[in-house]
Symmetry: none
Subunit: 214 residues, 4 copies
Amino acid sequence: MQRFPSSLMSGYRNFMSGRYSAESERYRVLAETGQKPQTLVIACCDSRAAPETIFDAGPGELFVMRNVANMVPPYEPDGQYHATSAALEFAVQSLRVKDIVVMGHGRCGGIKAALDPDAEPLSPGDFIGKWMGLLKPAAEQIQSNDMLTASERQTALERVSIRNSLDNLRTFPCVKILEEKGKLQLHGAWFDISTGELWVMDAKSRDFIRPPLE
Amino acid sequence: MQRFPSSLMSGYRNFMSGRYSAESERYRVLAETGQKPQTLVIACCDSRAAPETIFDAGPGELFVMRNVANMVPPYEPDGQYHATSAALEFAVQSLRVKDIVVMGHGRCGGIKAALDPDAEPLSPGDFIGKWMGLLKPAAEQIQSNDMLTASERQTALERVSIRNSLDNLRTFPCVKILEEKGKLQLHGAWFDISTGELWVMDAKSRDFIRPPLE
Amino acid sequence: MQRFPSSLMSGYRNFMSGRYSAESERYRVLAETGQKPQTLVIACCDSRAAPETIFDAGPGELFVMRNVANMVPPYEPDGQYHATSAALEFAVQSLRVKDIVVMGHGRCGGIKAALDPDAEPLSPGDFIGKWMGLLKPAAEQIQSNDMLTASERQTALERVSIRNSLDNLRTFPCVKILEEKGKLQLHGAWFDISTGELWVMDAKSRDFIRPPLE
Amino acid sequence: MQRFPSSLMSGYRNFMSGRYSAESERYRVLAETGQKPQTLVIACCDSRAAPETIFDAGPGELFVMRNVANMVPPYEPDGQYHATSAALEFAVQSLRVKDIVVMGHGRCGGIKAALDPDAEPLSPGDFIGKWMGLLKPAAEQIQSNDMLTASERQTALERVSIRNSLDNLRTFPCVKILEEKGKLQLHGAWFDISTGELWVMDAKSRDFIRPPLE
């Protein structure tokens, strides 16, 4: 008979005997009063870059939307299902978050696929192909640049993807208006899985720099 | 000048001095060899129900897709952008995950909105309204049952949403085929934020039961 | 020749050598001075859910009325025989109980019958059919919800039946008046045969929650 | 705020730490496989005469119907709500019990009321008056017998009530037929609260005698 993954069950036991038993009161209160996160994090599904881990976040702190390559499609009020736009709308309009962080990371599989000229569809639906198509113009420009090494092209597109998501966020009227009013701030960040370094985007120059840790 | 959220920066410092310094070798290896997660978790964006926290998961263990109300739309190879379908395709076809867990939770804001007959669009685009529309038939049936309390209706729809996502997962040919071949298993789980209880769906009856912790 | 069930006789011998011999004085006093129970329990006939067992109650503590599915019909002063109304009247007006507990339980056969669309009368008199008819409107609403599993529908109706009995209790003038005067309290409880859990109804929300055991 | 009776909660804690923890497996099995009691006990609501206590019965052993003065009304297939007939039908036709025990007891308040010529209705509905009316002819005969002491009259009517219930049980076709086929046995018993004595009715003479305990 089918069994729930044992690794998850043992992890859950650790959670119950550890974090939950230590913070049960906090969980009870969060259940009663509801969540009031200050921050929306738009991150990648990658198993090596969980926002709660990297930002050592506790329950109630981060509202987290995760898709392949931490992307935000442009504003399209077309009546279709938009997972990303729905999460964004809920975070901004209902939860009234104060900050939105788009967090990318190194060695991103989605970005790698976007840069692979010989990439085959993974399935007849080719959903990844369509999804990464959001980065097509940028990907083609970078692909064609034979001055950069493969890994430089990869890092370049990972960061372009973050800036691209930030630009698309601003195509949502509610985001644009609240940011102009100073009630909402947008941020970019890039996590290096290998070294654990966090690179933060400078709002003005849009360069990624390593902030001092102290 | 705009500053990166200080709570996130201090959390990141804890990560670097704590988990990362303890597991830096593991991160380095994961960066070199790439991720090989066994499990895809489809979860909600809720700040109180992070899969990595509840399953005490380390880097590389869980490929996590998060949207409002942990939903999976039905298979629609229509050339649109599908964040969820793309993540699913990548996890199943490229990463070859062995298990998919759809994890819902109590007090879900998206589910609450779906059950609110007087819910106003949060913005002109009404992205949440459209997104939760995936549960419309179920929501209407449950809404109309005035014998149940508000919280009983909420819990019922939260669990229906999980079963609904599992059904939709099976509309994806790659999922259906691999499950039939026994190479992929689908699971449902429901997390009670207040008590920390994890309820797991029985594959046969589709009921949610609390597995023994020993 | 007909013999009294031997299992009952041997159980009675245990009672005499055990509880009775230990509490004979208490029994003698209770016989002399009469019973003064504080609580009326309205429970189901089910062999797995005896109130005295679940509440570890001694002689004189609980006045117990038991019928199928722990139901209370609405106030009907029509001169017919009303087993339930008679027991209620005696407990409230003559014994002056302070609390009334309506206790339902999981896997209730009466509730199961009420939810079975193909249920045949058990006998020409169809007494169960008529009796469970007290829940007909609720049963039909819940029956029609094909989004819920069979056991979810069962649990839902078991709890609706408790709330229904509490509502009907308040159609009895003596109950209504004494409750308003604060001299009588009504409670709902649901017992899970499998896990032994007792769920208590919150008077305000009417939800069933597990009270802390400490 | 309203609280569940503390005496019941502490009793429940005893149950969980005592009987349930000792018999949890039995409870789990009884929940899975359903109840299969051999015996239906028709008893009084009296707080001093709980069948499970007197027969030291465990979970799953006794299907127990309790009303005031352990009465069974005659067979009336009239479409009204009949709590007692419904429980009887369920026990005999669905659970297929092998024995039915009608258990009365001393100092029965219902019987006392039936014998009190000056008894006032307890409420405008006079449900007890109507209910005890089932014993009116017998009560009047015994009342008028001034050769008997008050307590002799009480005991006499308590036993008449048991025989009366046994007679009425046989007006139910299903009971009559199964008894004639030897598949169902009917028994009478009377419990003396003060001495703890159990008197069993002899099927032939219908006298109540004390069976040897060895």
